[in-house]
């Protein structure tokens, strides 16, 4: 039995916080040392059981991460002896007395960074990358990950098991990719972290909380971790851009939902925004701009910086927003980007101009496309068409707060319903 089926015992409080903060670092070190994810997970899980008995009584040790590593290493060596595994890999690992890696691998020696690249390897299915990253680096339980992505726990357990099996069988390396592969591989990691954040920010499913704060926090924490450990690889403006994008989005969270209903950017109480996160986000965006190596995350962060710069919606620099969307469209020419650009154009040139663009986009199965049309039609006084568009948007929206907002909007339309 592996640790992921066990989960953490309930009621850990502060101890759990400490453990979660150290989880990725300790586990990554164990995986590097023993070359076996399951063995490392089991050993850490056993060490956690000891920690949960001792720490609440004696208080946590001065260096909890070091304590966990030492205890888990001993547990792993015990297990190897106990099971008398003849596998030479285990035997070799047991005989290695020190913690230095067997071979120099890549430009940076950080076990967590290696582990992120292993978890987000392109040879793994995208949904498995997300699950494995949250499990191994984030230290989330299988039950928590399953809940976050609204799949049964057994399904999530299978995904994680399958991913770990492929890592083992196909010998997916536990190291920082070579310099020539690095940009592409960093991009894969970023897309996994962005996916985790988005699922948290606009959670799907009728039973789900509209915002899963834990997933947002986890995505931000892992992105900070990636930024910290990837620092020595040289400037990574897209990493900074993604972190800024997340921070500037997260900063608005306190104002984003009221009484279960989504509150749009223009209607939000801006005094509720988190000034510290906005400051940090703006600093990161300025740093990116100085490097002048634009990428999609940086440009999206810059758009959010323009919005969060305005103390009042009327002060928003919409021409700057449109210019940034032009740049984003050049980098990533998708219909969704074109639609968001049109929304900004509506503020400058009026809803008629925007509607021509929006109507030409092949997004009829996307709820936000219908919601955008509904809003533009409403502003143009085309009430019946607006009502039909709101109905279509409500039918397609997966998020409860968004549905509530669209319904309220539709019901403010004048005339018969």
């Amino acid at each position: 039995m592996t640790s992921h089926t066990r989960g953490h015992p309930a009621g850990l409080g502060a101890v759990e916080e400490t453990v979660r903060a150290e989880h990725g670092r300790v586990l990554a070190g164990l995986i590097r040392r023993f070359g076996d994810i399951d063995l490392a997970e089991d050993a850490l899980s056993e060490a956690l059981v000891v920690a949960l008995e001792k720490w609440p009584v004696d208080g946590p040790p001065p260096n909890p991460g070091g304590w966990l590593t030492t205890t888990a290493t001993r547990k792993a060596l015990d297990r190897i002896r106990r099971e008398k595994v003849r596998d030479t890999k285990y035997a070799e690992a047991a005989m290695i007395g020190d913690d230095t890696p067997a071979e120099p691998t890549g430009p940076v020696e950080d076990d967590r960074l290696r582990l992120i690249f292993t978890c987000c390897h392109p040879a793994l299915a995208p949904e498995n990358r997300v699950a494995l990253t949250l499990r191994l680096l984030g230290g989330l339980t299988v039950a928590e990950i399953a809940h976050a992505f609204l799949v049964p726990e057994t399904t999530m357990a299978q995904r994680i098991t399958r991913a770990k099996q492929k890592i083992k069988h196909a010998n997916i390396p536990f190291r920082v990719p070579l310099a020539e592969d690095l940009p592409g591989r960093v991009a894969t990691v970023l897309s996994v972290l962005y996916l985790v954040f988005n699922e948290g920010y606009l959670a799907s499913g009728s039973d789900a909380d509209p915002i899963r704060e834990d997933l947002c926090r986890e995505a931000i924490r892992l992105t900070r971790q990636l930024r910290e450990v990837a620092g020595p690889l040289g400037p990574q403006p897209e990493v900074d851009g993604l972190l800024a994008l997340m921070l500037l989005t997260e900063a608005r969270r306190p104002a984003r939902v009221a009484d279960g209903t989504l509150v749009t950017l223009t209607e939000q109480d801006r005094t509720l925004w988190d000034a510290a996160l906005i400051d940090e986000g703006h600093r990161l965006v300025r740093g990116c701009l100085a490097l002048n190596r634009p990428g999609p995350f940086q440009v999206q962060a810059a758009i959010n910086a323009v919005h969060t710069d305005a103390l009042d919606p009327s002060m928003t620099d919409w021409s700057q927003v449109v210019r940034l969307y032009d740049q984003l469209y050049a980098l990533s020419p998708t219909p969704i980007v074109a639609m968001n650009r049109a929304i900004a154009v509506a503020e400058l040139d009026g809803p008629e101009v925007a509607l021509v663009t929006v109507d030409g986009l092949a997004l009829t199965t996307y709820h936000a496309w219908h919601a955008t049309r509904a809003d533009l039609l409403r502003r143009m006084g085309r009430t019946d068409e607006a009502r039909a568009a709101y109905d279509a948007a409500i039918g397609l929206a997966g998020n409860t707060a968004e549905q509530a907002w669209l319904t309220a909007r539709r019901d403010t339309l004048p005339g018969p319903s």
């Binding site: 069988h169 196909a170 390396p173 990719p177 592969d181």
Partner: protein, 117 residues
């Protein structure tokens, strides 16, 4: 070290007679060069191009008596056109070699670890 099979799959409707002779020669040369390269680098274990798919025979030995039938596998639309068996330090190295092989033979390559006996 792990051994990997790099296999080249073709769609059933791919018609090689459309390919001009000089293009064919260019591909043969590129594959020869790639083979030399992985031999020199110590990755080579074995490789072979396969005869046309119509020459395939399927043996099903799962029952009491082996059943031999005219191949290929009926349930598979794509078929194996050729393969290499290579030895590489890890999947990243195998993928890098496979990518060069794919370029050389002008076809997609599937990489699968070989179950160590």
């Amino acid at each position: 070290m792990t051994q990997y099979m790099l296999s080249v799959h073709h769609a059933p409707d791919e018609d090689f007679s459309d390919i001009p002779e000089d293009e064919m020669q260019r591909i043969f040369k590129a594959v020869d060069d790639f083979n030399d390269e992985i031999r020199k680098a110590g990755h080579w274990v074995f490789a072979g191009g396969l005869k046309p798919i119509g020459d395939a025979t399927v043996v099903d030995g799962r029952g009491d008596q082996p059943i031999v039938s005219d191949g290929p596998f009926a349930e598979s639309k794509e078929y194996l056109g050729g393969f290499w068996i290579i030895e590489a330090a890890d999947l990243d190295e195998a993928l890098a070699i496979a990518a060069r092989g794919s370029k050389a033979c002008a076809g997609k390559v599937e990489v699968r670890p070989i179950d160590a006996a």
